[in-house]
Symmetry: C2
Subunit: 157 residues, 2 copies
């Protein structure tokens, strides 16, 4: 059907895009990155530094090599991200005891405190992005994404 120029995106021919799961995935992810990034900015974090901080605050903190692997980044990019977190006093580089080439990235107390705030605003950002879904649908979406990712990780070996 032909529409005037004020027709909405959904009403116009853009319906072909809505049939493309790849387009939708890219679109929703862009929105998520934007909303989460905006929420984290006042805390001096970005989506990636937030992820690194989360890992650094666990009982089994990662080495830089691990970060490059899970974030699918080049090791040289991890250097910059860890530099920024370290400069902000949120993480420290500890030389590994078993391999002196390796840095273990551990969160400081300040980093752990910051992480608590960050996790809160990120959760709120997610609920904004997924607001149109009910709880069961949110869980199903989360579960589907998790299984795709886990399957991919298992393939790597």
């Amino acid at each position: 059907m032909l529409m005037n120029k004020d027709a909405t995106a959904a009403q116009r021919g853009y319906s072909v895009l809505v049939d493309d799961p790849g387009f939708l995935l890219a679109r929703v992810n862009a929105r998520q990155l934007s909303v989460v990034g905006e929420a984290l900015r006042p805390l001096g974090l970005r989506p990636r530094s937030y992820t690194i901080l989360r890992l650094a605050a666990t009982n089994d903190p990662p080495m830089q090599r691990d970060l490059a692997h899970v974030l699918e980044l080049d090791p040289s990019q991890v250097v910059t991200l860890v530099d920024d977190l370290q400069r902000a006093g949120l993480v420290e580089r500890h030389q590994s005891e078993i391999d002196r080439r390796s840095n273990v990235i551990v969160a400081t107390d300040l980093g752990k405190a910051r992480l608590v705030e960050a996790a809160s605003v990120v959760t709120e950002a997610h609920s904004t992005v997924f607001a149109v879904l009910d709880t069961a649908e949110k869980d199903a979406l989360h579960d589907a994404l998790r299984r795709i990712t886990l399957a991919e990780w298992e393939e790597e070996e």
Copy 2:
């Protein structure tokens, strides 16, 4: 080579990441972009040019301004994308009859033929990415992403 001296990603502390829908969304999208991009490369297309070509092949072909809007790109970026498609003979710029400033982007016959091939390889790429989901789960995922996107589009007005 990826040896087994370390536990797998899923077995280690990375489980905290798997609880983050934003991380998973970014991860799955990166994988999708990579697989789709690889599949489209032999056809001289990239994910974004493919989207533009799809819209250009509809009965209600878009103006560049529309492309910038749905792809959430700056108009200046659309110029380059349309330039490439036009140079490849897949689309043409037609001056709008109602506003001579505007270009309507329409697919050529070659473009429509290329689109048929492209749609095929993209569909196959998607089934690779979503392989771990059964049909009902794929549909549910697609539906959730569609509703999030449509809701966002409706908010814009």
